[in-house]
Symmetry: C2
Subunit: 357 residues, 2 copies
């Protein structure tokens, strides 16, 4: 295993230290428990937005901490859920009194630990709501997931919800927006190569010399199928059509009902894409993919979207939610309305996303 690390044990902490040394104006770090948070937190009157998950997906989430996006990010070890004490301490640190929204990718460990942290924080008088991201159309019920996995839509949700928090949305309105982003976003990815978790030291899975995996998860979880390599246009078509032609998807998620003071089951349905829909399109590298190749994918995606009557009104092309050094690509399409587009365009200042500032 050849990586630019000192040891698997120090990797996450040293990477966090590097981020803070590089961007002291944007973020600070808390260690034991570990989280990154906005340098100016708590921001008076603002709902705090917190996310987190296993490390190895950078820049998500730490790279999205800053003005207009996240107030805090809680990194677990590589591909390992963060623990409740991380989210609890982060919530205490960034809560201004206006409450906290947890944005949680749908992996069983993350869901459980964020729920536990929310209960602990509420016991201390901090208002917390959790919204789940479960947008990966590839498979249902995966290695670490009941239902659909949470992937690319998380990035777009953090930007849009972060901007809304900055504008002063209250906690309830912010949670409604986050839920609306989730049910309108869909993703699917693929891998050309595997990746190696530092603590394990060998590839997470094996792919043949000429083999690719369609529908891969961001931890290397099995996808839909392994097939021989295909040209980028065909790969793009497989991903894009899986997303665009995905039928309505209904599932039950757990959310906290503040009026009842308890967790409740909520049925959510993702409406299918329709001609005329406006979308934000993300073409996301899995960590080891040259950006020039991502533009080859975007080119084909543009033509497919056009043929299907979808209008790409904004795009994001680069490595935003990754699987260490994996080569591959994920496509995310998010159906947007005027409000979401306006929020997308709002200024943002984070290590990984920056405009208008």
């Amino acid at each position: 295993m050849k990586k630019l690390i000192n040891s698997p044990e120090t990797f996450v902490k040293e990477s966090m230290e590097g981020m803070v040394l590089a961007h002291p104006d944007i973020l600070k770090a808390h260690f034991d428990p570990n989280f990154l948070y906005r340098a100016d937190a708590p921001v008076p009157g603002k709902v705090a937005v917190i996310s987190g998950g296993g490390s190895g997906h950078e820049p998500m989430h730490g790279g999205f901490v800053g003005k207009g996006m996240l107030d805090a990010a809680c990194p677990g070890e590589v591909f390992t859920s963060p623990t409740p004490d991380q989210m609890l301490e982060a919530a205490r640190t960034v809560n201004s009194g206006a409450g906290v929204l947890f944005l949680v990718k749908n992996y069983s460990g993350d869901v459980m630990n964020f729920e536990m942290a929310a209960d602990l924080a509420r016991a201390e008088g901090i208002r917390v709501l959790n919204i789940l991201i479960d947008d990966d159309v590839a498979v249902k019920d995966s290695l670490y997931t009941q239902g659909r996995r949470g992937t690319g839509t998380t990035v777009l949700a953090e930007k849009i919800v972060g901007a809304a928090a900055e504008r002063g949305y209250d906690l309830k309105r912010l949670a409604d927006l986050a839920r609306r982003v989730n049910i309108n976003g869909r993703s699917m990815g693929m891998a050309l190569t595997s990746c190696t978790v530092p603590a394990k030291g060998s590839p997470t899975f094996e792919l043949g010399e000429d083999e690719i995996e369609i529908g891969i998860g961001i931890h290397g979880e099995p996808g839909r199928e392994r097939i021989p390599w295909k040209p980028a246009d065909e790969i793009t078509e497989m991903l894009a059509l899986s997303i665009i032609e995905d039928p309505a998807y209904t599932r039950v998620v757990r959310e906290f009902d503040e009026e009842k003071g308890e967790w409740v089951d909520v049925e959510l349905t993702d409406p299918p894409f329709q001609p005329g829909d406006r979308v934000i399109a993300m073409v996301n590298g899995m960590g080891g993919t040259p950006i020039a190749e991502l533009y080859v994918v975007y080119r084909k995606l543009h033509f497919i979207a056009e043929a299907k009557g979808l209008k790409i009104v904004r795009n994001l092309i680069g490595n935003y939610i990754t699987s260490l050094e994996m080569q591959g690509v994920m496509i995310t399409l998010l159906r947007v309305d005027d409000e979401m587009v306006e929020l997308w365009d709002d200024p943002v200042l984070t290590p990984a996303l920056r405009w208008g500032i």
Copy 2:
């Protein structure tokens, strides 16, 4: 060979098309000969800044076309110099009458073809000056280079010189600034893995399972030494000290003397770094390196710079000048004065670098 391309023959063109489809507000493409150029070119009264070189180093240079940076970028085939007709047609397209500055990385083919293009453009009455970037301290006289190779400083030069052009610097003043950036910038890189040029289909060089190469060139040219893998801190120290302790470097470059109307030899000396120097530090991934690892490198670089009395006043961490999917890192340090810092902070709007807009 598994890549997200359709064929080696169409790769560069389709990637350019993807960029234009994704960023029509920022850039346009010209094909046969190939170049990307600012959507609003020519900008009245502004000197045009043009760069280029072999493809495979993206986002450099096409990703740096836009307001506050390049007016045009001329991509050759992967790891192959662009031809004079590309730079000539680009100069014709973006010249507002205020002249054109060519920023040229020091590779023999690039140098020759940009000189030829400059002569052809001058024959048409377009004022052109060429400034060379030769900042790689690793080796002198390499596979494709006489003297030092041009690498990371190119990115910083394109930002700073681009901002100055936007502010209205005239051609002579802009060339003086570009030369000053070059002699104050130094880089050195290393590779954990090789990379595969699409047209060849097999790795450019071979590295053993536990072997790394220190001082690698951006086309995989041999560096200083091949050694067993070391922890990131030790690798960072090797690169940073090679840069910081590099003695004064004197060489002769060819520049066009407008008063004499001919190419002349100019002797340039890079002054060594001194305690008290302020620097912009770039920690650049070679294309396939996870950003979390780049922050581990930045962490150590910060401490080394501090111990050496250098003050890092700005930083850039990410994949900016790459070698396809190569894993590895390059460090660039640029000694800056107030003028360069101000220009660095100026707004920029390109596909790969964006702030203030």
